[in-house]
């Protein structure tokens, strides 16, 4: 393609990306560097249907003047990033000094909201991403072996978890693992403990969240692999059969090497998605057991007093986290496609 036509071809999408992605990120980064003005607090008497109380209030006039002068807020630099609700440099430093063992230090670290959220987010990403890829691969192999007439319905069934809205899919599983649900009751019977409840213990809640994550994104890996399977070289497969290769050997030495580039692509998308895990925590009401970075942003914005700068700082940290996580895959892609082979 000529340079000029290429330019005009990508111009609309570049503009859209600039408008909806780049500008938003600039705005979020800016927001995270500012905090609210110092509020002028006064003592007032509040009266209502239940009598009068002396309480505090914000002096609106005094605060309005401050706002007029600096509409963006007060320059905070990186102080939001380093405060206790984010990277917590001071608290981490103190914990390092006062801890008697690594275990003690890890405990103090997990008590800080950012590191607690990070622990779950990373565990979730590390467990769900590979298992999604493996499960998707086996579904694809399985469906590919099904008789041609049955393939349509099988593909449809395999795609169902992805078709169902995440929040609904998660709710269905949530009710099934309830102590009175079919899975919950089955687990009680297996564990031989009538009081066993998945929702009451942190480890079992983590397992359920991860099972849900694998269940809901396996179809994505499946459909990509299935598409890849259609392009496997038939001649090579037949040659392998003539040479006496078993089905397992054919998969190991012919199919898998063919699908490796696709794995990079699936891993890229899945790492990004899993690092932003959010819906299952809401649907499973799991915030007592598991908090992710996205969930922290949600609570910052969902309270009666919204913490815009705090939410912005967590968003920027999430973007940085995704970038770090993706860097090995991106470097690999760059090497595969960027250099002449």
């Amino acid at each position: 393609m000529k340079h000029a036509s290429f330019f005009w071809f990508v111009l609309p999408s570049s503009l859209m990306m600039l408008l909806f992605i780049a500008f938003s990120i600039v705005s979020v980064v800016t927001q995270s560097l500012y905090q609210a003005h110092d509020q002028v607090i006064i003592e007032v008497e509040n009266c209502g249907p239940f009598g009068c109380t002396t309480d505090t209030s914000v002096d609106a006039q005094a605060t309005a003047a401050l706002r007029e002068a600096e509409p963006l807020g007060k320059w905070a630099g990186l102080s939001i990033y380093t405060d206790r609700n984010h990277l917590a440099f001071t608290e981490v430093g103190e914990a390092w000094v006062s801890s008697v063992s690594m275990r003690d230090f890890a405990g103090s670290l997990m008590n800080l909201p950012f590191y607690d959220a990070m622990a779950f987010t990373l565990t979730y990403t590390a467990v769900v991403t590979p298992l999604t890829i493996i499960l998707g691969f086996f579904i694809a192999i399985g469906v590919n072996a099904v008789a041609r007439a049955m393939r349509g319905p099988t593909i449809f069934l395999s795609l169902l978890p992805m078709i169902v809205t995440p929040i609904v899919g998660a709710l269905v599983l949530f009710w099934m693992v309830d102590a009175r649900g079919i899975l919950g009751a089955a687990l009680q019977w297996i564990a031989d403990d009538p009081n066993f409840s998945v929702k009451a213990s942190t480890p079992s809640m983590w397992v359920v969240l991860m099972v849900y994550g694998i269940w809901s994104s396996a179809p994505f890996a499946f459909i990509v692999y299935y598409a890849g399977l259609q392009t496997v070289n038939k001649d090579t497969l037949e040659a392998a059969m003539i040479d006496g290769a078993t089905r397992a050997q054919r998969i190991r030495y012919v199919v898998v090497p063919h699908l490796v580039p696709l794995t990079t692509f699936i891993a890229l998308i899945q790492l990004m998605d899993n690092f932003r895990v959010f819906e299952p925590i809401v649907s499973f009401s799991a915030q007592a057991h598991a908090r992710s970075l996205s969930y922290a942003i949600y609570t910052d914005l969902g309270g009666e007093t919204r913490l815009l700068s705090s939410a912005a700082a967590t968003s920027v940290l999430t973007i940085i986290g995704v970038a770090i996580l993706l860097s090995p895959v991106l470097v690999r892609t760059w090497r595969d496609f960027g250099s002449p082979r």
């Binding site: 914000v58 609106a60 007592a288 007093t305 913490l307």
Partner: protein
């Protein structure tokens, strides 16, 4: 969505018109943002029947995320927001609602003093209904173990133990203990009940890491021993469902939900016929009920013309006037309006008011503390850390947030 809302209002208006409501006339734009439950729908419907106004309303559970952005512009999209004592502070902090004193002098002489919410001597809202959490109990179960209706959490624990040991119910207690807003609200109730103060008076400095804070947390934990192990996932809806399923004998619950629990829908006669309400419970010996009083009321936006403000005031005053009370609306809430005739479902809230309960604090930074509580208390209830550690975590989380919002310098 607006069309749907207007259609719903239409039916309510028709219901009201049939009872012969007082005429109302104004000239200007009236646009309501508020929560969605029957009492508020009745108020909005009555406001919308005023002649000569350009009326619209957006009643939704997401009102809190819409009211502030919708009132910040000039002119404001919404001319009035229906708020509660916790949510008015977000509007006050951003200075988007106007004092109503002038409008009351001109158009609102007949609004009783008790409905006026004054802050620093200026009327900022007009309340029309009250709400509070109080005890609900199963009369049949209490009779079975021969217990009186409890008045304190200590008695509640004793009765719960009796019910369990007699094998009637494994988990006789319940409550909206879902991690997040609900759990923070339960702590707020309990902490007020121990006589604790949330802040150093006159400042935004939090002070809950004290013996009262520990007492409140330990009572909550003692109660959870008698709750379904999934209690951290049970919000008001989940708890109500458990109650209707007949799985609980006692709980502290919102007055606004008792109507649903005592009607014939959703549960067996044995459950709903034996569901009774009582006043709020106490904890320890402070004598202050472990509950908070709430009001719902309307405000008028600041960034609108004086004509629109007057029209909004007239319409909303009409919407919360004695004229809206009829057979259908009477039991929808504990109305603060003249002419309210309480039904048995309302007795709990009235008992809470009579017992001298404290209102939920109308404080600019209380919401930040509420969020910090909701994020941290579950750690203690699950046995992951000590009460002191949890309270220290709450204080630290609040302090960082309050510094960011400029409350702590």
């Amino acid at each position: 969505m607006k069309i749907l809302k207007n259609a719903m209002l239409g039916t309510a208006v028709a219901a009201l018109a049939a009872t012969g409501a007082v005429a109302c006339e104004a000239d200007g734009r009236v646009s309501i943002i508020g929560n969605e439950f029957p009492a508020i729908q009745s108020v909005a419907a009555a406001a919308g029947e005023c002649a000569g106004i350009d009326f619209s309303s957006n009643l939704t559970a997401d009102h809190q995320s819409l009211n502030l952005p919708g009132m910040t512009g000039n002119p404001a999209e919404y001319t009035t927001a229906i708020v509660a004592n916790s949510s008015i502070v977000a509007l006050m902090n951003e200075d988007v609602i106007r004092p109503l004193d002038d409008l009351i002098a001109t158009y609102g002489q007949d609004i009783p003093q008790r409905q006026l919410i004054t802050i620093d001597g200026k009327v900022m809202a007009v309340a029309f209904m009250a709400n509070a959490q109080h005890l609900l109990y199963r009369e049949d179960v209490l009779e079975q173990v021969g217990a009186d209706v409890p008045t304190s959490y200590e008695e509640m624990l004793e009765i719960a133990e009796q019910i369990r040991s007699e094998g009637i119910m494994e988990y006789p207690l319940g409550g909206p203990y879902a991690a997040g807003w609900n759990l923070a609200q339960e702590f707020t109730n309990m902490y007020i009940g121990t006589g604790g103060e949330f802040f150093v008076p006159g400042t935004a400095e939090v002070s809950i890491n004290n013996p009262q804070g520990v007492e409140a947390l330990e009572m909550m934990k003692a109660l959870t021993e008698y709750m379904n192990p999934d209690y951290l996932t049970h919000d008001s809806n989940g708890t109500s469902a458990e109650w209707e399923a007949g799985n609980m004998a006692m709980m502290h619950m919102w007055g606004s939900r008792t109507g649903v629990l005592m009607d014939a829908e959703g549960s067996e006669p044995q459950v709903y016929e034996n569901t009774k309400v009582s006043g709020p419970l106490t904890v320890g010996d402070s004598g202050i009920p472990a509950t908070t009083l709430w009001w719902d009321g309307w405000t008028v936006a600041k960034n609108i013309s004086d004509e629109d403000a007057a029209a909004t005031f007239i319409a909303m005053a009409h919407g919360s006037s004695p004229a809206i009370l009829n057979d259908e609306t009477m039991s929808q809430a504990v109305w603060l309006i003249d002419g309210f005739d309480p039904a048995p479902v309302n007795e709990g809230v009235l008992a809470s008011v009579a017992a001298g309960s404290k209102p939920y604090p109308m404080r600019p930074f209380q919401g930040l503390l509420h969020t910090a509580l909701g994020d941290n208390i579950a750690d203690f209830l699950q046995g992951n850390e000590s009460a002191e550690q949890t309270l220290a975590d709450v204080e630290a989380a609040y302090t960082a947030a309050a510094a960011e919002k400029g409350f702590l310098q």
